[in-house]
Amino acid sequence: MNIMFYVLLLFILIAAVIAVETKNLLSSVICIGAIGFGVSIMFLFLRAPDIAITQIVVEVLGLIILIRATISRDLTFISGDKEFFGTVVSVVIIFMIFLVGIRVFDTIPEFGQPTFAQAHNPASETYIEDGLEKTGAANIIASIILDFRAYDTLGEATVLFTSIIGATVILRRKSRKALGELE
């Protein structure tokens, strides 16, 4: 199980590097798809089937959009070389963040355990133990996202709504009225 986890992580990492580095846009898109499916399998390993379902379906939709966009635009190749200076600077910065990251991830506790043990009962335990009693929903995730933290879900639905309105606004055909139309 654990070894599978690391293999999956490695797979995702390699796919991500290829997606960024390749010059063929179509293979980049396919790598992004591979990352998405890797992530959804990861969610299954972490016992989150809800998120895995959503991840897969969204991934499929996203792939359709991206592949259609790449193919129909005939932009399968990108040209141009990278600047040497920029590459060096980003490599240095990434290396520094990597060093800090190692130190930081040392402090992160085992999966599911908060570092600072708390005296009182944390929220997550209540969700698991009393979720069914308090909300009546057998699916704990539903009881969290639609009852305990329903306000967050309203926010997320609004994020989606905002991006839709934003997309329709940005992609509308005519943005300004002609001078004559201004009364």
Partner: protein, 149 residues
């Protein structure tokens, strides 16, 4: 976009029933089994995306006009917000699950406002995801038309 061959068209019109039914199942049973409004909504949207790929844009436009789709989007959002406000009116506070003791645990009718919220979110997510894909494809056609003229 004219759509694909007869094979694809026929298969997708058969499969569409299954997908829509599965989406409805995921939404309605969201409080009992994995799934819920978000996942179910995406599944509903994907059935229409499949139809769009198979039959072409005009066919789908006839079946689910863009204006109706954006109305459904708004309607779902308003419905979800209204469930929150109903909690304020009938219950103790905003987003209060004022029906939570209605029905028996582990049955379809249980856990108060959660299934209602799932339906509202499913409507909202389904409509808006389809809208996104539709807008993106429509936009591309317009820009290519400009080039040809």
């Amino acid at each position: 976009m004219k759509g694909m061959t007869v094979i694809v068209k026929t298969i997708s019109s058969w499969v569409k029933v299954l997908i829509i039914l599965f989406g409805i199942y995921i939404i309605l049973f969201g409080h009992l089994t994995p799934g819920g409004g978000f996942a179910g909504g995406v599944i509903l949207a994907s059935s229409y995306v499949m139809l769009m790929l198979a039959f072409g844009r005009e066919f789908v436009q006839k079946d689910l006009p863009l204006s109706l789709d954006s109305k459904l989007d708004c309607l779902g959002a308003v419905a979800f917000a209204m469930i929150a406000v109903l909690g304020y009116v009938f219950g103790k506070s905003f987003f209060d699950n004022f029906l939570s003791q209605f029905g028996r645990h582990l049955r379809l009718i249980s856990s108060g406002t959660i299934p209602l919220s799932n339906i509202a979110i499913g409507l909202k997510v389904g409509a808006s995801l389809f809208l996104v894909i539709f807008i993106l494809s429509t936009f591309r056609r317009d820009s290519s038309d400009d080039k040809q003229e």
